[in-house]
């Protein structure tokens, strides 16, 4: 087994036709990644689940079986039927339509929190790694303080102060996970910064910022993508938890966490009302976790055989 910590070793190990006579380089690299991808069940399963979720969310803007907000009291709490495949809730709204529409909120929540965590955490980690010394200490210890504060509690406090909304809750979750991104970025950036090609780039006069952007970032992108997809699943769980507590997405907007929350009151009439969104949440989290693991198998040079 070869443990190549640096991307060069991994690139050399990759079975690519030698010499410049081969196929265009970019294609070669992608085809290697694709070959690995086909042998990674987690990537395939996770990728499929995530793709279905994203498609569902997009589809919901143009089509759902019924209006997810359409109230029909005369058919409230009807179980599954041919007209309503997953039944109806206490207001007679179609559960399947609400599930499909709920995917929007889930994706939105993940995107917002990952973007906030990444857009602040990645630059913070990069600068900490490059500058070192006191600035490094200051950034990382500030991160520790943020990380030490319970994320959900922060989100609940913010929601209570600013009023319940998906965005506010997700900003809180995003901030809570800034240190995670900062740490992962700093660790891998340190390894790249000590490499010869960074020294060479400095030797031909690249400024520190350009070195980070053009040399360090592309070389740690794979690790960050993996981290983002794992954080996505954490964000989804946090969002559904807040919605369940009534502190996230306000009704009547369809969201999975909120659907479970309201279904509690009707467990005697139709227990499946809580089960459907539960399955959806479970699959979404599983999907993003598998995708993250799969991406790591494919992209992380350290796990390559």
């Amino acid at each position: 087994m070869s443990i190549g910590g640096d991307p060069v070793a991994a690139a050399v190990a990759a079975p690519i036709s030698d010499g410049p006579a081969g196929a265009p380089a970019g294609t070669a690299r992608l085809s290697v990644a694709w070959r690995r991808a086909r042998h990674s069940p987690s990537l395939l399963i996770g990728g499929t689940i995530v793709a279905i979720m994203v498609l569902m969310a997009i589809l919901s803007f143009v089509w759902t079986p019924y209006n997810p907000l359409g109230i029909a009291p005369q058919i409230a709490l009807h179980g599954p039927s041919s007209a309503h495949l997953l039944g109806t809730d206490q207001y007679g709204r179609d559960v399947l339509s609400r599930l499909i529409a709920g995917a929007r909120i889930t994706i939105y929540a993940g995107v917002v929190s990952v973007l906030i965590a990444g857009l602040i955490g990645i630059p913070a980690g990069l600068f900490a790694a490059q500058r070192g010394g006191l600035l490094d200490e200051a950034i990382m210890r500030t991160g520790d303080v943020i990380y030490g504060f319970p994320a959900l509690l922060a989100a609940i406090t913010l929601s209570a102060a600013l009023g319940a909304s998906t965005t506010v809750a997700m900003i809180a979750i995003g901030i809570a996970y800034i240190p995670v991104f900062a740490r992962v970025t700093r660790g891998s950036a340190l390894a790249v910064l000590s490499s010869d090609f960074v020294l060479a780039a400095r030797a031909y006069g690249r400024r520190p910022f350009a070195v980070l952007r053009r040399h360090v970032l592309p070389n740690i992108a794979a690790i960050l993508i993996v981290q983002a997809s794992l954080l996505f699943s954490v964000a989804i769980l946090a969002e559904t938890a807040l919605d369940f507590l009534g502190l996230g997405t306000p009704p009547p907007t369809a969201s999975w966490g909120q659907m479970i929350g309201t279904a509690q009151n009707y467990l005697a009439e139709d227990p499946m009302l809580a089960v459907w969104p539960g399955i959806a949440i479970f699959l979404a989290v599983l999907g993003f976790n598998l995708l993250g693991d799969g991406l790591r198998e494919v992209l992380d040079p350290r796990l390559r055989q």
Binding site: A14, I16, P20
Partner: protein, 340 residues
């Protein structure tokens, strides 16, 4: 005025002195070789001249480019000097190129670090540079990633990056050490040609006397962070005054095959280069030198001995001195002496 003038350059790591009082001047077109074993301070000297030392290392003295001292500059000013006035070629072509960047784009990067030009212009110039470093199909090879090139090709890419902005000084740190023997000569010839064409000064760092003797008119021998001998290359090699230089010369004699013997014997200098900070006080070589006396506990000044400079209390008298410490030994002895 010299292109590059290094004055009493000293590099310290905490209390340990890594490079001690190195000075040299370079005029345009001049070539200086720096010779020494690993750990003698050659690379640290080069990095200090470029202003690229790790933060834990401190450089004092002066590195004058024209009348400006690089060591006194801000990082921003140094970025202008690096690549623009001074460029560096590194030892390991395998790791000195960014694996995620096509080589053409990487050369264009080096150009755009100093010259205002569009992407297309930079790409065009990168292709021209690849042609100058003898790529047969530069337009297509510019699109390769480093891992698709051989070691020699990569080192030529490094060379193209070094000359991208017409530097006045090129520092080459063991540029051929990582290459196949067959490619080394070709690489050196190319480097000599480019340096001449650019009228740039060259600092060539190597442990290989043969490389330096073929390329440089002046040579500086380093040991333990000190310059122990320096002068005209032919004169130094013809009559080494410092026992260490003599030892190096004896070891490189092994390159030629002795046809009378059935086994190739490798001469060497007894002992090892001590770790940084554990060199003996005074002359750093005295723990390995068979001419050492009590007097050697004081570092000798570098002064004229014969036709060049040496720093030794007991300099060798001539080329055929019987005192050369490196008598031929068989490799088995080498392994044993390495254990102590």
């Amino acid at each position: 005025m010299s292109t590059l003038s290094v004055r009493n350059l000293t590099v310290t790591l905490g209390a340990a002195v890594v490079v001690d009082g190195v000075s040299f001047d370079l005029e345009p077109g001049q070539r200086l070789g720096i010779i020494g074993e690993s750990g003698s301070g050659k690379t640290v000297t080069a990095l200090a001249v470029m202003g690229l030392l790790a933060p834990s290392l401190r450089a004092t003295g002066q590195v004058l480019i024209g009348d400006r001292d690089l060591l006194a500059m801000t990082e921003r000013q140094r970025c202008e000097v690096r690549g623009g006035t001074m460029a560096m070629v590194f030892q390991e072509p395998m790791t000195a190129l960014n694996p995620t960047m096509r080589v053409g784009r990487q050369i264009a990067e080096a150009i755009r670090a100093h010259q205002r030009c569009t992407r297309a212009e930079a790409r065009q110039r990168a292709t021209e540079l690849l042609a100058r470093v003898e790529f047969t199909d530069p337009a297509r090879q510019a699109r390769s990633y480093p891992h698709q090139l051989s070691g020699g090709q990569r080192q030529r890419v490094m060379l193209a990056m070094a000359i991208a902005c017409d530097p006045a000084v090129i520092l080459a740190d063991e540029p051929t050490t990582a290459l196949d023997v067959t490619v080394q000569a070709q690489m050196l010839a190319l480097m000599a040609r480019l340096v001449t064409e650019e009228n740039a000064a060259l600092v060539l760092i190597s442990h290989d006397l043969a490389v330096v003797s073929g390329m440089c008119e002046r040579v500086m021998v380093m040991y333990g962070g000190h310059v122990v001998e320096s002068g005209n290359t032919a004169q130094v090699l013809a009559a080494p005054r410092h026992p260490y230089t003599a030892g190096l010369l004896a070891t490189s004699a092994a390159v030629s095959l002795d046809s009378d013997r059935t086994r190739l014997e490798v001469p060497y200098i007894p002992g090892q280069v001590p770790a940084v900070g554990s060199f003996p006080a005074g002359c750093p070589f005295r723990s390995r030198c068979d001419r050492a006396t009590a007097e050697c506990a004081v570092m000798p000044p570098i002064e004229a001995v014969g036709d060049h400079l040496a720093a030794c209390h007991h300099p060798l008298g001539g080329p055929a001195s019987p005192q050369i410490p490196a008598s031929p030994q068989i490799p088995a002895d080498l392994a044993e002496s390495g254990k102590e």
